[in-house]
């Protein structure tokens, strides 16, 4: 019998530590598939900082570095500069990339570092117990916005992708979502293009991936997908931004 589906070579066959319905596992797999398809497993170096995906290197079967919370793009900048022959990517949550690491994010993008950024936007801090993220929607309840996010006190959801797209050194920005099989296929295409851009030496590419966190959204996995499709994409529209 012909085997038509299996583990990508770049993904290890281990038990997941993520909650049921979490998007991180799907995103890990997309990256592994893309790395395999582009034939870069022996060249790729992943950088995963703090957040629920802190042990991403347990899942991926290629070289990886940890980074301090928010600093992935500083770490990746240096790795790529000293090893331009390698393919370097960061895998960052919204707390990481859009709060504590905003500075590193904007400046690496503005320098046009030839790296690939996979930005997981689940509108919340997962690892620390569901607090307000810069990307939390207005009205969304979190551990630190028990009455829901209010623009007056907490500001508006931060649109990092749109902001970065303004920078001349940024080559490619796309927003995708893990909300349906079709959207997942689109997300994979975007991830692949973001890696291909690096292979082609084009410069900074970022894919923002809307990803469910059923646990801290206080929803079932199924409801979380519906909420992404009905509510979240209104704030964070999908498609190519640059």
């Amino acid at each position: 019998m012909q085997k038509v589906f299996g583990y990508p070579k770049s993904l290890r066959n281990i038990l997941t530590h993520y909650c049921a319905g979490c998007g991180h596992g799907i995103a890990h797999r997309l990256i592994a598939e893309v790395v395999d398809e582009l034939g870069i497993r022996e060249k790729v170096i992943g950088v995963a900082p703090v957040g629920c995906a802190v042990i991403a290197y347990d899942y991926w079967d290629f070289d990886c570095s940890e980074a301090a919370h928010g600093r992935a793009l500083a770490v990746a900048t240096a790795i790529k500069r000293v090893r331009p022959q390698n393919i370097v990517f960061t895998y960052q949550g919204d707390g990481d990339l859009a709060a504590i690491g905003t500075n590193e994010t904007i400046h690496a993008a503005n320098r046009g570092e030839n790296v690939t950024v996979i930005f997981i936007n689940n509108a919340i801090y997962g690892m620390t117990g569901g607090q307000l993220a810069p990307t939390t929607l207005l009205g969304q309840k979190t551990a630190t916005t028990p009455a829901g996010r209010e623009a007056k006190f907490h500001g508006y959801p931060l649109k990092i992708s749109e902001m970065l797209a303004l920078l001349p050194a940024v080559k490619y920005v796309e927003r995708a979502a893990l909300s349906s099989p079709q959207e997942i296929i689109n997300a994979k295409k975007a991830v692949k293009l973001a890696f291909q851009n690096q292979i082609d030496n084009l410069g900074f590419s970022l894919v923002e991936i809307l990803s469910p966190c059923p646990t801290y959204w206080g929803m079932s996995p199924k409801k979380a997908l519906e909420w992404m499709r009905d509510v979240m994409v209104k704030e964070f529209p999908l498609g190519r931004i640059k």
């Binding site: 170096i45 290629f62 570095s65 940890e66 770490v75 240096a78 790795i79 090893r83 331009p84």
Partner: protein, 364 residues
């Protein structure tokens, strides 16, 4: 082999020493009094085939050093006191990930913004870890420009050998003054392998991130979640620190054989102490000097030996801070000899006259 003599500032000599020692990655953020160092790197790194980045902050700079070191290249950053405080997070991660890296601190007065004048008030921060967690960095304290240059070789070699952050602790005087420097391309204080550069595979750094070609993936991390794992790892670190303490103590001394009062000072302060000792000797006074070159590991053994051998001996610790190295001297002497102190800080530099006055007040 070639030799040349140049007139150069301390900051520039440190930069040249780093390049000659094989440093091929530098990232930093401007702060006085070390600005000549990154400027020199910006000029010279490209010619040496290395990378210079002016980072957007000290946080970014030290994490860039983390990345470059993880990728197997000899990497360094430099800053001055407030900037080093910001780098502490990254230094702790470098220690936790067991990466080799060199960090230069050209100290200025603190706390807070303080001022830009020389001081030695970051001694605790450098020698006690400084960031979070149970870690240590090797700390080297040059007192001349020639030594600053030469210690860069040692710093990179020790960092590589023990996979540990190595700190060069200088101050604004050392950084900004000019002295002749003899550059000798044979200079070889080499302890371990020669450096990896961007065009060379870091063959000896088999833990480095180079792409998992023909080997299992390499992971650079400091995260140990499973119960007991971190304790095990930390015990390994402690073992490593013990080895370093046993093997890497370094100091310079003067007139220890018959000295009754031994001045203890490091870096710039030791230059002043040395003149004091020479002046006192001319007057027939039995003064001596110990100048720690490694501040961590602190050269304990010499103090222990002297303190045990002579009950009437006294030490006078002199600092451009208010009694930080003093604690290490006291720990080493362990109550077996008198330990006195004189220090100024915030930009105040103890003068020879002040030290002699203090010496005389001790009546030894």
């Amino acid at each position: 082999m070639s030799k040349s003599k140049v007139l150069i500032t301390g900051n520039e000599a440190i930069a040249q020493g780093a390049i000659d020692a094989g440093c091929r990655f530098y990232a930093g953020y401007p702060i006085t009094p070390q600005n000549e160092l990154p400027a020199y790197m910006a000029r010279q790194m490209p010619a040496a085939g290395g990378i210079f980045i002016q980072a957007e902050s000290e946080l970014a700079a030290i994490n860039m050093v983390f990345g470059a070191a993880a990728a197997g290249v000899r990497a360094m950053t430099s800053s001055s006191s407030p900037g080093i405080s910001l780098k502490q997070e990254g230094i702790s991660y470098i220690a936790g990930a067991e990466l080799p890296a060199v960090i230069v601190n050209i100290m200025r007065g603190g706390p807070g913004l303080g001022n830009i004048w020389p001081a030695q008030s970051d001694y605790f921060q450098a020698t006690r870890g400084g960031g979070h967690g149970d870690y240590r960095s090797i700390v080297l304290a040059p007192s001349s420009i020639q030594e600053a240059y030469e210690l860069m070789f040692l710093a990179f070699d020790l960092a590589d050998k023990y996979r540990i952050p190595a700190i060069i602790l200088g101050d604004g005087i050392l950084g900004q003054m000019m002295e002749p420097l003899l550059v000798d391309s044979r200079l070889s204080l080499v302890v371990s392998e020669r450096p990896a550069t961007s065009d060379q595979q870091p063959t000896t750094k088999n833990w480095a991130l180079t792409g998992a070609k023909g080997r299992p993936p390499n992971i650079v991390k400091s995260f140990y979640m499973k119960e007991g794992d971190l304790e095990k790892f930390n015990l390994c670190l402690q073992e490593k620190y013990k080895v370093i303490q046993g093997k890497e103590e370094r100091f310079e001394s003067l007139f220890l054989d018959d000295a009754k009062l031994i001045l203890v000072a490091y870096g710039t302060m030791a230059r002043i102490a040395k003149s004091v000792v020479q002046r006192l000797r001319k007057e027939g006074k039995k003064a001596g000097l110990i100048r720690p070159i490694t501040l961590w590991p602190f050269p304990q053994k010499i103090f222990q030996r002297l303190a045990i051998s002579d009950k009437r001996l006294a030490f006078l610790v002199i600092e451009m801070s208010y009694g930080q190295m003093l604690e290490d001297v006291k720990l080493a002497v362990c109550g077996k000899a008198k330990v006195e102190f004189f220090g100024r800080s915030g930009g105040g530099v103890p003068t020879e006259e002040e030290i002699i006055k203090k010496f005389e007040s001790l009546k030894v």
